[in-house]
């Protein structure tokens, strides 16, 4: 059980391309942390700095109480001495070695006796249910099998920390789900600290004990998944996490959008602020915060509710529910309803928004 501490990490590729900008994070021992963000946000670079494949330009990286990278103190521990595991997106299996040889390689380097090695190889392959394929070459395996071997290869050396760089992104949907549950149960069995990089918010939500959302090299929010979902710290986190994406109403442009003023008023009253307050810049609400009513259906508003009138654009059934897209002037909203409700395209509807489930953001995109 090892903890990882990042303090004020900076990574520049060239003088004007800053990949990671003053990042500080604490990974508790045994946690399953997810670095989440769009591509180019610096999450993979962060992972590579933890692994030692990349050196930080500034800041301190401490792993298990020992400083591994600190440019100021001129300390850098090479990746081969960090005793951690890293699984790449491409798996990067060695094509000239069989499955067994791939897993055995790290053990050989550790100068472990032959009997012990073959025992560990067997165990690791059995753990990932790849025992039957030990004689195969990587090219003879499917994507999911390759992925398991890549994991087994790193698990065999029993690293205290396991780093995973988008390991599921090359798998098809069904396999991805299977590997997710596999990873989760693996984490519970092994108890090692896992750092996982992904751009898939669903993956982050379902796997991690902690999620760090990053954008343009900076940390947006670091919290447990439910907090990220229910209390997004910034507008970016709010829109990036969740599917369908959070509905956002901006108040900078009120031209020709007469419905916005009463909506803002209701929101301001609910959060006990002045409706003219410039800090109320954007208001977001998730699809499930809305109840949809037919406009011709009388429905008195309850306390903490407000209403926006719009038209149905399309109904997208997903099976257990349906996503309804609604247009209000030029704005598009998504609402989730039970599949039993029937709507027609173009029909007028009332979106009844539950004000207890709204998120208000200021000009800087920070949560109020």
């Amino acid at each position: 059980m090892i903890d990882i501490k990042l303090e004020h990490i900076v990574k520049k590729y060239t003088s004007d391309v800053i990949a990671v900008d003053d990042l500080s994070l604490n990974f508790e021992p045994g946690s399953f942390v997810c670095l989440l963000g769009p591509s180019g946000c610096g999450k993979t670079t962060t992972l590579r700095m933890i692994s030692g494949l990349e050196r930080a330009n500034d800041g301190v990286i401490t792993i298990g109480g020992e400083i591994f990278d600190s440019p100021k103190q001129n300390i850098f521990v090479r990746p081969e001495h960090r005793k951690l595991g890293l699984v790449f997106q491409s798996y990067a299996l060695w094509p000239h070695m069989t499955v067994q040889e791939n897993v055995d390689f790290g053990l050989k380097l550790k100068k472990i006796s032959k009997e012990q090695r073959s025992r560990i190889v067997d165990e690791s392959l059995d753990l990932l249910r790849m025992g039957a394929y030990r004689k195969r070459y990587p090219a003879e395996l499917s994507g999911g099998q390759q992925q398991r071997v890549a994991l087994a290869r790193m698990l065999a050396v029993q690293p205290g920390i396991l780093l995973l760089d988008e390991p599921l992104s090359n798998l098809d949907a069904a396999l991805r789900l299977e590997m997710r549950s596999e990873l989760k149960s693996l984490h519970e069995r092994l108890g090692s600290t896992i750092v996982f990089v992904t751009h898939d918010q669903l993956e982050a939500m379902s796997l991690a004990t902690h999620v760090a959302v990053m954008k343009e090299g900076k940390l947006e929010q670091y919290a447990d998944p439910m907090t990220i979902y229910l209390k997004p710290a910034t507008e970016f986190v709010a829109t990036f996490v969740g599917s369908p994406p959070m509905n956002m109403v901006g108040f900078s442009d009120l031209e020709g959008q007469r419905w916005k003023a009463p909506f803002k008023k209701a929101v301001a009253a609910f959060i006990r602020m002045d409706a003219d307050d410039q800090r109320i810049c954007k208001v977001g609400f998730r699809a499930e915060a809305v109840t949809l009513k037919r406009s011709d259906d009388p429905h008195p508003l309850k306390q903490n509710q407000t209403c926006i009138k719009g038209h149905i654009k399309a109904v997208l059934p997903t099976g257990p529910e349906q996503i309804v897209s609604i247009v209000v002037d030029d704005n598009q909203f998504y609402v989730v309803t039970p599949p039993s409700l029937c709507f027609e395209n173009g029909q007028s509807v009332d979106m009844v928004v539950d004000l207890t489930m709204i998120h208000v953001f200021d000009q800087k995109g920070l949560r109020i």
């Binding site: 595991g85 990067a92 380097l109 790193m154």
Partner: protein, 592 residues
Amino acid sequence: MHALIKKKGSINPTMVLGLILALVLTYLIAIPVVMLITESVRVHSIDVSYFQQEEGAFTLRYFQRALASRVSSVLFLSPLMNTLVIATCITLCTTIVGYILAWIITRTDIRLKRIFATLAVVPFMLPSWSYAAAWITLFKNRKQAGAPGILEVMGFTIPDYLAYGPLPIIICLTMHYFPLAFLMFGNAFQRIDSQMEESAQILGANKLQTAIHILLPVMKPAIMSTILLTFARTVGTFGTPYTLGRPVRFNTLSTSLYFTYQSGEPGVMAVIALAMLIIGALLVALDVYVLREYKRYVTMGGKGQMSRPFTLGPMQIPMNLLVGCFLFVVIVLPLSILALSTFMVTPGWFVKDNFTLQFWFAEETRVREAVPGLLRDPTLLSVAWTSIKVAGIGALICGTLGTLVGYAVVRLQQYRLSKYLRHLSFLPYLVPGIGFGAAYLVLFATGRGPIPALYGTLLLMILAMSVMYLPLTTRSSISSMAQMGAEPEEAAMILGAGWFTRMFKIVIPIQKRSLFSGILLAFIQGMKELSLVIMLAVPGLEVLTTLSIRYTDNALMQMSNGVILIIAFVTFLLTAVSQRLTKTSLAQGIGG
């Protein structure tokens, strides 16, 4: 619907095309090889009275002469040994030089990558014996006829082993062939997922362990095919061993083949050519074996390759200098020597009166023979025109044939015919050029059936050229056809387009660029080809490359060097044009 369901008994045009191509390629590639076998065991007219046998009767005396007679050592055995030793040394040297250079340029953070990568390919665009010509211009000693080399004139005494024979041959051909290795390794390095090395590092492997256990094995297929290709090329090369070996009677199979041909021993020539083709066949077999062996894992990679360059740190400047110096030595130095020599009556004698423009511009040079300066010589113009015709038309045929073969190979994949076409069209790739020339000489020396004797005609040279470079165009065509997939054509089929419409309106327009660059590449190669055409050139039908060799024969070093420069100029020009037009280059991607 009607387009998809074929009517019973209707003819599949692709199949017809495939069969025609198979027939043509069999005649142009397989038959010449078979002919060599019959020619080596058949009494030739020239030997009828000597052998006391009828012309065409079966005999093993040519084999005996080559393998077990008083002259077999001179004719065959020592040339064979020399060839194998030289080819081995050159292959080793080019592989090492190419590997190191490719690694530096693709895998480190060295500066000027793109320029280095472009320059590193230049030696291969020069005629293969340019280095030999530059070498002899510099190192030639007084024991040979004609003007002595620059160093002798400057007062040095050059020993024979430094001026001629195996050592200079190995050095010169290494300089010429290392770009092949560089290109193949550069592309391979580019394809390898650097995360494979990083995984090893994470597991505790240091740089050396990673290089030995991961990088080298992963590169093995590329290394093997580079070794095979370089070996085949060096076995078949003629100009360099001819220029540097002849003065000390150091023969390789290629020069021995040429001399037996010159001295009128067609039977023995067939035996030697056969030996070269057997070496080629062995290389092909090895190539097939190696490819099959590595197939289980060469298909890997292709995704997630984030290449992180190796940091040179304080080695940055020395490494830049080293690569710069190396490229200077292999490009600027030899070309300058060649160029300088053409402006001097006695190369190396640096006095004002010794400089001259006569080799280029005089109506009659005063040096040894009354020949006009190169740019005033009407023969040169007509020879250059022949060169362009041979290389140009050859490249056109080669490109067209290659595209058709590529189409047939990809579309007839489920048939055995596809495999046959592919293997056959790749055959010239590893077959020594001069051996192939000899085979053509034999096949077309007399008329056979409907095909007339073509010996001494432009057509024969063109044919030989288009077959020799077929692997180039076929390979690129197969890969781009496979990339295109069947869908564009199927879409046209759904809309009711017939086979010919699809071919001319869909397939060829889509393949235009790859076709064009294939043709240009073949053209460039054809302009500087010597090994193949030296067997087919006759007085009155010369190309630039053979003309340069004739000048060497007549000890007119300056004229010979001038012709080499003209060829180099034309190939550079063509390369520049093709890069501008197709926006691709040989070293593409290697420099990042």
